[in-house]
């Protein structure tokens, strides 16, 4: 395992300390590093709290700031945060308008946020994201995973909350955006969880894992490495089929790196994905390219498509001032 670390037990704490120090103008770290919150709170707006296992940086702490989240709770690497973290984060940022939890659809995340919602005081509502189309057989009862599309939900609902939308409105908007958002990823290499010390899975020199999850979970299948166009085509097909979009529909295309894939390749994939989506009748009206929802050091990427309407577009364009997203 080749990583910049001092000890596997302190990776998260040291990384959070660095994050908070580097962005002290935007965020503050809660006691015992239980959460990251905005420096400047607005007590009249709905407070957005998200969180999840670490190892997906900059998700979620990198999205704390004006126009997006109010607080984020970092769990241990790939491990949901605990209810006390979430409760304390909610209490630290809650104003008069209630608190919205944005939770990726994993058993652990859902249960910990659920326990937090049972304990915390004040009005709390939850939006669950489940944008990953990788798992074909939807008969299994846990539903789909929440992956990179979560960023889009957080951005759009974050902007709406900033503009004064109430808690019910934020829930409805979040669910609507989630319903119109689909993602799928592919891994060229495994990630290595620091505490585990060995790669979560292993791929041959000519193999890739199609439909991989952001925790290194196996995906649809292990196949021979393909050309970028073929990869983009397969993912675009899976997404478009599932989205059931009308021809000419406007969409946001988000090409997300998993941590070990460099920018030059991400833009090449964007170029391929855009062509594959346009071929299928979508019009790419907004774009995001970068490593925002990572899986530690995994080489790979995911494509996310989110259908836009004028409301969603305006909220996407609304100013945002966080460590990882700024415009």
């Amino acid at each position: 395992m080749k990583k910049f670390i001092n000890s596997v037990d302190s990776v998260l704490a040291e990384s959070l300390d660095g994050f908070a120090a580097a962005h002290a103008d935007l965020v503050a770290l809660g006691a015992e590093r239980k959460f990251v919150r905005r420096c400047e709170l607005n007590p009249r707006k709905v407070a957005l709290v998200s969180g999840g296992g670490s190892g997906h940086e900059p998700l979620h702490a990198g999205f704390v700031g004006y126009g997006m989240l109010d607080a984020a709770c970092p769990g241990q690497v790939f491990t949901s945060p605990t209810p006390d973290q979430i409760v304390e984060a909610a209490q630290a940022v809650a104003g008069d308008a209630g608190v919205l939890f944005i939770v990726k659809n994993y058993a652990g995340d859902r249960m910990n946020f659920e326990m937090a919602a049972e304990i915390a005081e004040g009005r709390i509502a939850t939006v669950v994201t489940d944008d990953d189309v990788a798992v074909e057989n939807s008969t299994h009862s846990s539903g789909r995973r929440g992956v990179a599309g979560t960023l889009i939900v957080e951005k759009i609902v974050g902007a709406a909350a900033e503009k004064g939308l109430n808690l019910e409105g934020c829930v409805a908007l979040g669910e609507r955006v989630n319903t119109r958002t689909r993602s799928m990823g592919v891994a060229l290499t495994s990630c290595t969880v620091p505490a585990a010390g060995t790669p979560t899975f292993s791929l041959g020199e000519d193999e890739m894992e199609m439909g991989v999850g952001i925790h290194g979970e196996p995906g649809r299948r292990r196949v021979k490495l393909e050309r970028a166009d073929a990869i983009a085509d397969e993912i675009a097909a899976a997404i478009v089929q599932d989205l059931d979009a009308r021809a000419g529909a406007e969409a946001l295309l988000f090409v997300n790196g998993f941590g070990g894939t460099p920018t030059i390749e991400l833009y090449l994939m964007y170029n391929a994905a855009r062509r594959m989506l346009e071929k299928r009748g979508l019009r790419i009206a907004r774009s995001l390219v970068g490593s925002f929802v990572t899986s530690l050091d995994m080489a790979g990427c995911s494509l996310t498509v989110s259908l836009l309407d004028s409301e969603a577009t305006a909220l996407w364009d609304h100013p945002v001032r966080t460590a990882a997203l700024k415009w």
Binding site: T79, P83, E114, V193, A195, E217
Partner: protein
């Protein structure tokens, strides 16, 4: 309370140490069909329990179990944190309401199992820890009072964990794998088995 504080303490210590010792195995099971953190999660929780063991065993049994549950909830995280946490919270709660050990063991354990099932919206057969906990509960019921109860619990747990291998997961992270989850033992089932076996070993040692 019929169980002495010292006995309880050594039982908890034994169980926690067993789980910590099996952390690498739990992690590698979780690497196969999950995200490779179950061993680390359980180790962190058990270390937290060991760190508070004096305070825990100074409590009456019901409060002690709740403290264990709370500690697990606050330190384990992931799916297993709320689930094991709920188990001990509910078991402690049962003892606070008219249940007594050892006579109500099956009931108390059953309260814990029900809490896991409620929190996880899950039941036996979905390739989770419940596939060990539920069979163990059955044995606790059917073999209650029998002299070979402990031995039967041990073999129940050992067999149950192996039976998760051919199952297809429909709950938890492994469910995202669909058919590819088949052929691997569930990590949470394994940690439940380790816990049950460790408690059995303590009780046997005491006999």
């Amino acid at each position: 309370m019929s169980m002495q504080a010292e006995t309880f303490k050594s039982l908890v210590r034994g169980a926690a140490e067993q789980v910590i010792a099996s952390a690498p195995e739990l992690t590698s099971l979780d690497q196969a069909i999950g995200d490779g953190d179950h061993g680390t999660n359980m180790k962190r929780g058990c270390e937290a329990v060991l760190g508070k063991l004096d305070a825990i065993s100074a409590q009456p049994l019901d409060e002690a179990l709740k403290m264990i549950g709370k500690t697990l909830v606050m330190t384990v995280g992931g799916a297993s944190g709320p689930l094991y946490g709920s188990f001990f919270l509910a078991a402690g709660e049962a003892l606070s309401h008219d249940k007594h050990l050892p006579e109500d063991l099956a009931d108390v354990f059953g309260s814990g199992v029900s809490a896991v099932s409620a929190r996880g919206r899950s039941q036996a057969g979905e390739k989770t820890m419940l596939d060990v906990l539920v069979p163990v509960l059955e044995t606790l019921k059917t073999a209650a009072g029998q002299p070979d109860l402990i031995a039967r619990v041990r073999s129940t747990a050992a067999e149950a964990v192996e039976r998760t291998a051919p199952m297809q997961a429909t709950k938890g992270r492994a469910s995202f794998l669909g058919a590819r989850s088949v052929g691997h033992v569930d990590p949470g089932a394994r940690s439940s088995c380790v816990l049950v076996q460790a408690v059995c070993a303590s009780l046997e040692g005491k006999q």
